[in-house]
């Protein structure tokens, strides 16, 4: 497949959005394009946009499933603001996605689906392909369904099966548009459908037909190419945040020499973590699907007592259910990693949309004085390192850790440079040796203030722990007022001490600017992109982006003190900024918040930053 037009335009970056009915296979189409993009050497990030329902009514706007990919020859930190190319498999997907494309975007539509019935279902009063409403766009009209059927005619497969591969026709057209080869995708068909040669053949034929069709009709005035990105030497792969989280946990368990136990309950958008760990019994990792969120965390606390690397994964409402048990882990001073994949709330809220609104819950959502470590992953691939770090801190400091990720990171994917597990920091849990003559359940490390892990089954260390207040040292139940005050202070100081073991905050961008933009967790990529673009335009601006929230990095105040203005940006109503106001009240904070279940766009951040730069 070498046919190429002469008119090849070189781009720095592009955004494509694949959209269709939720049964049209848009996620697979997007993933196959991602794979091809990786092979082409571009950096990229992706984001799926799918409905909460598995099969919402066919042909309706609420049933549209989308997949966006942003790829380029420079570092790509986000899945892109607006798409340059939209593939719309039916009227509903065109309607649903018009707001997510640029004014000049190329739109590829399956004209076969633009019939009266479907237009009505999508809520169109007139056919957008006829009424000039798409003017300004390059609209490529292709009878994809008919041509797909035609392509597989000689294979004698039924219409329904034939139509299933129409997404591959669209993919073939996009491959032509971006000067890609088909080999890698054909190989995928051979592996994936190895048991069904007819399906392999059908998909190959349809993919090739799409490619050839685009060529034959000269569908595009130009085709495009994007040079390989200049990435650091190494082996790369594509990874979603949830997958990276699961792998970081497994790596943490491997390096700590303990077995992983994940007690969890299925919940969107965190279920993939449970599913992934379930697949890895060969590493002695146990994934226990509990009867509810409470049993998920409590079984994990049991496993922690028994010496496992204890993890529970959940999303917002699930974290609410786990609150009481988190208090138990705090007072029992046992390791516990809670991965909370944030989604839109409150209550069931927006299960498939993303938000940063569980920060208060993570910091404060327990009865009593119950401090624990709170940290937040900054990108899909950082989920790997954050999960590893969460295991390390939890085990070494004998305290629960809440790791916040979010729906965007969890389902979004990006290029991940594969590290060697041996190159990650050592993990040394404070395990008590058998028959230690000095053993006491609540004896503490004099520096870190953690108690020690005395694991059942070990000779000479029998002891009792639990949810009642414990006497310092002996661990006996104690209702003594001064002991309670002392233990409360110790639990707090232990978590504060963690600041000595985490990296300092690094400034990105300009250190000598007036404006410091501040964010945390999943907004890193989009904020960095906005920052870089403004700096390219000659503006001076700095950024402090937080991964560690409780405790804060030790140099936080020193960083803040360098700037005249601090603007804190979050996908919530201002939870981190209020936390900063509480912890570091000596600074004045401005805030920028968005709460639409959607990530920031580079464009809107640049506008907001510019306001503060000029004010």
């Amino acid at each position: 497949m070498t046919a190429k037009l002469d008119r090849v335009v070189e781009l720095d970056q592009a955004v494509i959005r694949f959209a269709g009915d939720s049964g049209d296979g848009m996620q697979l189409t997007g993933n196959l394009f991602s794979d091809s993009t990786a092979f082409a050497g571009n950096d990229f990030a992706t984001f799926p946009d799918y409905p909460a329902e598995i099969r919402a009514p066919q042909g309706t706007v609420s049933g549209v499933s989308g997949f966006q990919i942003h790829f380029g020859k420079t570092d790509i930190h986000t899945s892109g603001d607006l798409a340059d190319v939209l593939v719309a498999m039916n009227p509903a997907s065109l309607k649903a996605n018009m707001r997510w494309i640029t004014n000049e975007a190329v739109i590829i539509v399956d004209t076969d689906s633009f019939i009266e019935k479907n237009l009505v279902k999508a809520g169109y009063e007139s056919n957008p392909l006829m009424d000039n409403s798409l003017s300004g766009h390059v609209v490529v009209q292709a009878p994809i369904t008919t041509l797909t059927r035609e392509a597989v005619k000689e294979l004698h497969i039924d219409n329904k099966s034939a139509q299933k591969s129409k997404n591959m026709f669209a993919l073939g057209m996009i491959f032509y548009m971006f000067n890609r080869t088909l080999d890698r995708t054909n190989k995928f068909f051979e592996t994936k459908f190895a048991k069904n040669p007819l399906v392999v053949e059908a998909n190959k034929k349809v993919l090739t037909s799409g490619f050839n069709f685009a060529h034959t009709i000269e569908a595009f005035a130009n085709t495009f190419t994007i040079k390989p990105a200049s990435l650091e030497k190494g082996v790369y792969r594509n990874v979603t945040g949830n997958l990276a989280t699961a792998w970081g946990l497994l790596a943490g368990a491997e390096r700590s020499g303990r077995k992983l136990f994940l007690g969890s309950y299925p919940i969107t958008p965190a279920s993939e973590i449970l599913q992934e760990i379930s697949r890895h019994k060969q590493f002695s990792a146990i994934a226990f699907q509990a009867e509810d969120e409470i049993a998920g965390v409590v079984s994990t606390i049991g496993a922690s007592f028994a010496g496992a690397v204890p993890v529970t994964s959940t999303s917002g409402p699930g974290l609410s259910l786990k609150s009481e048990a988190l208090g138990l882990a705090v007072i029992a001073e046992l390791p516990l990693v809670v991965v909370n994949v944030q989604r839109g709330g409150p209550s069931t809220g927006l299960p498939t949309k993303s938000e940063q609104s569980d920060l208060y819950q993570a910091l404060f959502g327990r009865n009593g004085e119950a401090p624990l470590i709170v940290m937040a992953a900054q990108s899909s691939s950082d989920c790997f390192y954050s999960a590893y770090e969460a295991v390390k801190l939890s085990l070494e400091h004998m305290t629960p850790v809440i790791l916040l990720t979010d729906g965007s990171l969890a389902n979004g994917s990006e290029v991940f440079r594969i590290p060697k597990v041996a190159s990650l920091a050592d993990i040394n849990p404070p395990i008590v040796e058998a028959n230690d003559p000095d053993f006491q359940p609540y004896r503490r490390d004099p520096v870190k203030l953690n108690r020690f892990w005395a694991i059942p089954g070990t000779e000479g260390l029998r002891h009792r722990i639990g949810g009642l207040e414990k006497e310092d040292g002996s661990g006996n139940v104690s209702h003594d007022p001064l002991n309670h005050e002392k233990m409360s202070a110790l639990r707090e100081a232990k978590v504060e001490k963690v600041a000595d073991y985490i990296p300092e905050l690094e400034i990105e961008g300009d250190e000598d600017a007036d404006l410091l933009v501040v964010g945390w967790g999943g907004t890193h990529g989009v904020m960095l992109t906005a920052l870089e673009q403004l700096r390219e335009e000659g503006k001076s601006i700095g950024m402090a982006h937080f991964k560690y929230i409780n405790p804060l990095p030790k140099n936080t105040a020193a960083v803040f003190a360098k700037y005249k203005k601090i603007l804190v940006c979050e996908i919530n109503k201002g939870q981190f900024v209020n936390y900063l106001r509480m912890r570091l009240p000596e600074f004045k904070y401005e805030q920028y918040n968005k709460i639409q279940g959607l990530p920031f766009m580079v464009k809107e951040l640049k506008e907001k930053f510019s306001e503060y730069l000029s004010s």
């Binding site: 060969q282 509990a290 049993a295 049991g302 028994a306 594969i418 009792r464 639990g466």
Partner: protein
């Protein structure tokens, strides 16, 4: 090896903790604690392998009184905690102490799933049919119509029968004992310990303060002879010291008959089979109520089934053998990867 076995000669003393036992004088829990202390040394298990866990309630203070590894957790959640411990380390001998409020109300969900999943955990369910620690509110096992602090007009709710719930949840082992008979408790606790899988023992326990003599008909000196049927596998279900009463199956119902009357002999009496996977008769036994029927004590159901942790760890072993992934490094390189060797 011989030395190891000799070292296992444990006594009651090995399991007594140094903590003051704070249950009310006359509380049934004291006798249960003593029975457990009697049973543990006899099981041939090293003392550091025992883990005693509990939820919240009077009974749940139990772990503090045993010199073993112990975990006093939160209300209703002991079943989940115990499951996590057992799955993480199947070598441990896990005992869960709970009450009727802890397990039938706030922890009802965890309780039925423990029964269903069948991890090898021994559950001692102290059923005093009242909330004791919170001072006298009705529980899910309180008989309908009982007047308590929260049911001044008598309860309107139909109670749970723990045995019926365990069997309904597809539990494989259910036994019942009375807190007034230490010999019976020791014998049944030992059988529970030996059963592989979730063994649930309901202890008819007396709360001397808030629900005194709630089991009086069954345990009272005058009435117990008529109202207790101690079940033994393979033996006819005969009760009373005089051995003159027994159970027969009439149609689909159990019926109490008098041996020697109407031509009935011992041979006509139904023989107890706790190992029958079909729970039909076991369910009827669990549901028998005094005074119309004797209350069934002893092991009502004990059916062989692979414990959860055994199935899981067998799967781990198998996956280790067949998986091409030997390390997380291998895992990270699965699927599509690409190399950049001319990069920065």
């Amino acid at each position: 090896m011989e030395n190891a076995i000799q070292e296992l000669k444990l006594t009651k003393k090995d399991f007594e903790s140094d903590q003051m036992v704070k249950w009310c004088p006359g509380c049934g829990d004291h006798a249960i604690l003593k029975s457990v202390e009697n049973v543990f040394p006899e099981l041939g298990i090293p003392k550091e392998k025992f883990v005693v866990v509990s939820g919240i309630g009077c009974s749940s203070r139990f772990p503090y009184y045993m010199n073993t590894y112990g975990f006093h957790s939160i209300h209703g959640r002991a079943a989940a905690l115990a499951t996590g411990i057992k799955l993480a380390n199947p070598e441990l001998n896990v005992w869960m102490i709970t009450g009727d409020g802890d397990s039938m109300a706030i922890g009802g969900n965890h309780f039925i799933h423990l029964a269903r999943r069948n991890p090898d955990i021994n559950v001692l369910l102290f059923n005093n049919k009242i909330y004791g620690l919170t001072k006298g509110q009705y529980s899910p096992t309180t008989p309908q119509g009982s007047k308590t602090k929260t049911s001044p007009q008598g309860t309107f709710e139909s109670p749970f029968n723990p045995g019926e719930l365990v069997i309904g949840a597809r539990g494989k082992f259910f036994a019942r004992v009375v807190d007034t008979n230490m010999k019976m408790m020791s014998q049944v606790f030992t059988e529970a310990a030996k059963h592989k899988g979730a063994s649930i023992v309901e202890i008819l326990a007396n709360c001397v303060i808030f629900n005194n003599k709630i089991h009086g008909l069954i345990t009272g000196r005058e009435t117990k002879n008529d109202n207790q049927l101690f079940l033994e596998a393979g033996k006819p279900m005969i009760f009373r010291q005089e051995r003159d009463k027994g159970l027969v199956l009439r149609g689909t119902q159990l019926e109490v008959v008098t041996i020697g009357e109407n031509g009935i002999t011992e041979d006509d009496i139904l023989v107890h089979d706790p190992t029958n996977p079909d729970p039909g008769i076991q369910m009827m036994l669990a549901n028998m109520k005094a005074p119309d029927f004797p209350v069934a004590l002893g092991v009502i159901r004990s059916v062989k089934s692979q414990p959860l942790e055994e199935a899981i760890w067998a799967s781990v072993k198998h996956e280790k053998e067949v998986s091409p992934l030997k390390s997380v490094d291998d895992l990270l390189h699965t699927g599509n990867t690409w190399e950049i060797d001319n990069g920065k």
